[in-house]
């Protein structure tokens, strides 16, 4: 038997949703946290040298390569072939840690150094995300 599905409609309907006309896209964390998607990468902090500004070991860092570096930004730099997260003092060419037990580092002529991006957000997982756990 062939059935043509037509939704029955007898003029009896429920109370129409009053919210129907107000529907918007749900909030997206991507939208909040990432301003330049094609110029952004995500990394993970490893170590305690940035604790005083609230970046702890294993925190997630959102690194934007589009924005320009300003004095005292939190940056990710390529420092002698290593990705490091530091505060940058552009005037004195210093890499500063945010932990009293770490010394500041002067960027010398012989160092290979480039700013890889600005850490625009950091995310703290107060409960471990299962996505980040190695199984």
């Amino acid at each position: 038997m062939k059935v043509i599905p037509i939704f029955a409609c007898a003029g009896i309907t429920g109370f129409e949703s009053p919210a129907a006309e107000y529907r918007q896209l749900p909030l997206s964390l991507d939208e909040l946290l990432i301003e330049h998607p094609s110029a952004t990468f995500i990394g993970q902090a490893s170590g305690d040298s940035m604790e005083n500004i609230g970046i702890f070991d294993k925190d997630i860092l959102i690194v934007d390569r589009h924005v320009s570096v300003e004095n005292h930004d939190v940056i990710v730099a390529n420092y002698n072939g290593n990705f490091v997260c530091k505060l940058i003092d552009t005037q004195r060419r210093l890499l500063l840690s945010a932990n009293d037990s770490h010394q500041s580092v002067t960027i010398q002529e012989y160092d290979s150094f480039s700013v890889e991006g600005v850490v625009i957000r950091s995310i703290r997982c107060h409960r471990q995300s299962p996505l980040l756990v190695n199984d």
């Binding site: 110029a39 995500i42 990394g43 170590g47 040298s49 490091v84 996505l131």
Partner: protein, 418 residues
């Protein structure tokens, strides 16, 4: 006015984005199963490690010279290519992504508003480097073919610093005279040989050929190339990539295959890949080529190759898999340790103009449409046909694989806060 922007040794450069300690060092990327070198950066080439050689032949040399050899990390390349294309796309109202690392831009309607195209090109190059850490070269010229030429100059001719805008006829001819004719877009080695026989060895020689003669001796495509080299736009980017004449899916395997059912599964897998490619470009195959062999480096090269002529053109995965599997069953030799196998779809015809067959019922394409849509939306092999097996023992060997920094949470780069 067009620009061609492409990345320099893209695979190698992509591997250096999240490994700053590898920047400036020689890098090569290997093909599936780590068999051949498919990409080598400038530093590796300078050490004499070229493309397309079998890796095992140069492995010791690579280790000795400190060349970094890596398996292909397609997940990483795809993701970085996407970002790169987004950045490039900001610089023109129209963009055509030509391949994983090449993209055309058209300034047709807006270039009078750009004060200096050379500066614009330099801006593209800087932005891509700053935002994706991929090095690109930019070629700008009046036609697509000349944009390719300009890009070649930007890469190869010292002094252009990665950006070349062909502004005058003199400049154009100077570049063309320094360029091999086989480096011109669309001139393969076969046509190159014929041109050589006619005494044409440089791109300039080709540009000076009479268009009529080009058509008579070769084809309308070559005539267009000649005209384009002289600044007359003939190619649009819709026609820039013609449909493939033949579609192949072929691969060598990580572990030799010695049993019949594994061979059938591996060939079925390739049949599925090739069929999906055919559907994507709207083609159906009249002939299916099925082959499997051991390695050419084995003592006794051995294998089979079979042309299956279809009763009517097809691009249905189930159908092609069934043929492949049946032929593998018949031609399987228990004494061969199969290493390389694949499927070729030949005699392609567009499905749009398909001729119905009176005695073969028309196949409903709906199943394959849904199948392709599911795999496109949720990732390769979300649904698959069981003939290809569930656990692919013939999976790629990627022993030198780097992490998937941008697509897998567990692989995100570690940033030192020590």
């Amino acid at each position: 006015m067009y620009a061609l922007v492409d990345a320099n040794s893209f695979y190698c450069s992509a591997e250096q984005v999240f490994r700053p300690e590898w920047r400036g060092r020689p890098v090569v990327v290997l093909s599936n199963n780590d068999g051949c070198i498919v990409a080598a950066n400038r530093q590796a080439k300078a050490l004499g490690i070229g493309k397309f050689g079998p890796y095992f032949e140069v492995r010791a040399l690579c280790e000795q010279l400190g060349v970094i050899a890596l398996s292909s990390n397609y997940e990483l390349y795809g993701s970085l290519s996407h970002s790169m294309m987004e950045v490039i796309g900001r610089f023109a109202p129209e963009q055509h992504i030509y391949s994983i690392d090449e993209s055309f831009l058209s300034f047709k309607h807006c270039y009078p508003a750009i004060p200096c195209l050379l500066t614009h090109g330099a801006k593209i190059r800087r932005a891509v480097w700053k935002e994706t850490r991929l090095p690109v070269c930019v070629g700008i010229a009046e036609t697509l073919t000349l944009a390719k030429v300009a890009n070649h100059a930007a890469k190869k001719i010292y002094g252009y610093n990665g950006v070349c805008y062909i502004e005058s006829v003199n400049q154009r001819d100077a570049i063309l005279s320094a360029m091999k004719v086989t480096d011109v877009w669309g001139i393969g080695s076969r046509i190159g040989k014929k041109l050589h026989a006619m005494g044409i060895t440089t791109a300039l020689g080709l540009a000076k050929l009479q268009p009529g003669i080009a058509r008579k001796n070769f084809s309308i495509e070559i005539e267009r190339t000649v005209r384009e080299l002289n600044g007359e736009a003939c190619k649009g980017w819709d026609s820039a990539r013609a449909d493939k004449q033949q579609i192949f899916s072929t691969r060598s395997v990580g572990e030799r295959i010695t049993d019949k059912s594994t061979l059938q599964q591996a060939l079925s897998k390739h049949a599925g890949i090739a069929a999906a490619k055919a559907r994507k470009q709207g083609s159906a195959a009249g002939t299916i080529l099925i082959f499997a062999s051991n390695s050419p480096y084995d003592e006794q090269p051995n294998g089979f190759k079979y042309h299956y002529r279809c009763a009517h053109p097809t691009n249905d995965s189930c159908e092609i898999m069934a043929y492949a599997s049946e032929i593998a069953r018949q031609l399987y030799n228990p004494h061969t340790r199969y290493y390389k196998m694949g499927i070729g779809l030949l005699d392609l015809s567009p499905t749009k103009h398909r001729q119905g067959d009176l005695f073969t019922p028309e196949k409903d394409p709906a199943l394959m449409q849904v199948y392709d849509q599911l795999n496109q939306r949720y990732g390769t092999d979300t649904v698959f046909i069981a003939a290809q097996g569930i656990e692919g023992k013939w999976h790629m060997r990627r022993e030198l694989l780097t992490p998937q920094y941008t697509t897998c949470w567990q692989d995100i780069p570690q940033i030192n806060c020590r």
